[in-house]
């Protein structure tokens, strides 16, 4: 956010100053939508803590001062919504766990769901991950928390041995039940898609972990090459190489099972 726009948005949030410019209106909406908050290092007032809405020292509102912090604002309630411990907590009292782990819960949950394909198991898996992260936070150097947490999650997942078996999708009764919900003349296509989906999941499950994980991160979770590279701690080129080879294996599997036409015959 531009510093002037941020300052105007803060002025509206804290003092009710009128807002006309669309950019400021948008900034206000984004600030109010932010669920993460923490005490400002200079004023102690709750401010958005996420990168997207972060308020730097230079862009803080002009009415702020170290000696006279602003009156309690909407950020107090935002902080409570986010589960913060209160507006008077000093920034230095935020534990590394709160600082590095809690903001990644949503991403962890998404990745856990892609691993388990089950909401309840995913929630259990992330809970295990949080416990392990809490136990190991003293050994964490503070760099790349998402990569660190995803490694913990992946290891926790391996130890749990509770993945849903994709063979259930091949159960004729299940298939028939899902087929019956497919509408109209596209039933054949729906059946092919269902078979393709089941075959893909089975093939994905048989990929070795480096290949499977990069497919899950990029193609299922929608991470970019660079984000996946950061998470895995490998160069983006390695992510691309693994991804392309993994997809080629999935394609070969579909060829072998007749679910995709062979293009090189």
């Amino acid at each position: 956010m531009d510093a002037a726009v941020t300052a105007a948005a803060w002025d509206h949030v804290n003092n009710g100053a009128p807002v006309d410019e669309p950019a400021v209106v948008e900034a206000v909406e984004r600030l109010l939508a932010c669920a993460y908050s923490m005490p400002h290092p200079e004023t102690g007032q709750m401010v958005p803590a996420c990168v997207q809405h972060g308020c730097s020292i230079r862009s803080r509102p002009p009415n702020w001062s170290r000696s006279s912090p602003s009156a309690p604002s909407q950020w107090e309630s935002a902080g409570r919504r986010a589960g913060s411990r209160g507006v008077n907590v000093d920034a230095s009292r935020l534990t590394p766990f709160e600082q590095h782990v809690l903001p990644e819960i949503e991403v962890l949950l998404r990745v856990a769901r892609s691993l388990t394909r089950n909401n309840a198991d995913a929630e259990d898996l992330v809970q295990d991950t949080l416990i392990r992260a809490h136990n190991g936070i003293d050994r964490f150097d503070g760099r790349h928390p998402r990569a660190w947490l995803l490694t913990i999650l992946r290891n926790a997942h391996i130890n749990r041995h509770r993945r849903r078996r994709p063979e259930l999708l091949r159960d004729p009764d299940v298939t028939f039940d899902r087929m019956s919900k497919a509408a109209g003349p596209e039933q054949t296509d729906a059946f092919v898609d269902l078979e393709l989906d089941a075959e893909l999941i089975r093939a994905l499950d048989q990929l070795s972990q480096p290949f499977r994980f990069v497919v899950e991160l990029v193609d299922i979770q929608g991470l970019s090459y660079a984000e996946a590279a950061q998470v895995l701690g490998v160069p983006p080129g390695t992510v691309m190489s693994r991804l392309h080879r993994a997809r080629a294996r999935l394609r070969d599997r579909l060829h072998r099972t007749g679910l995709a036409p062979r293009s090189h015959e």
Partner: protein
């Protein structure tokens, strides 16, 4: 690969440039991911229109990507909230 494609492009005018199936196969996934540069995108798109073999290959990859993307769903808000509270309890 990009150098190879550029060599092909420089030999002939862009509107008449063609790339063979092997070259397209090597950049096909970049193209489908939207990661190829503009020149490569133009060349590959033209080739896929003309070549049945590569067109089928591209279609298979598109189906794979679409099928995998169907598994992408936002986590339930209740789960996020419960886990955040659990994390705060731990902290």
């Amino acid at each position: 690969m990009r150098r190879f494609l550029r060599r092909l492009i420089t030999r002939r005018p862009v509107e008449h440039a063609t790339v063979d199936c092997v070259a397209v196969g090597k950049v096909l996934q970049h193209y489908l991911d939207g990661a190829a540069d503009a020149e490569t995108t133009t060349l590959v798109a033209a080739h896929l229109d003309d070549c049945l073999r590569c067109g089928l290959e591209a279609d298979t990859y598109r189906r794979i990507k679409a099928a995998l993307a169907k598994h992408r769903q936002p986590p339930p808000p209740g789960s996020v909230q419960r886990l955040r509270e659990f994390g705060l309890h731990l902290a």
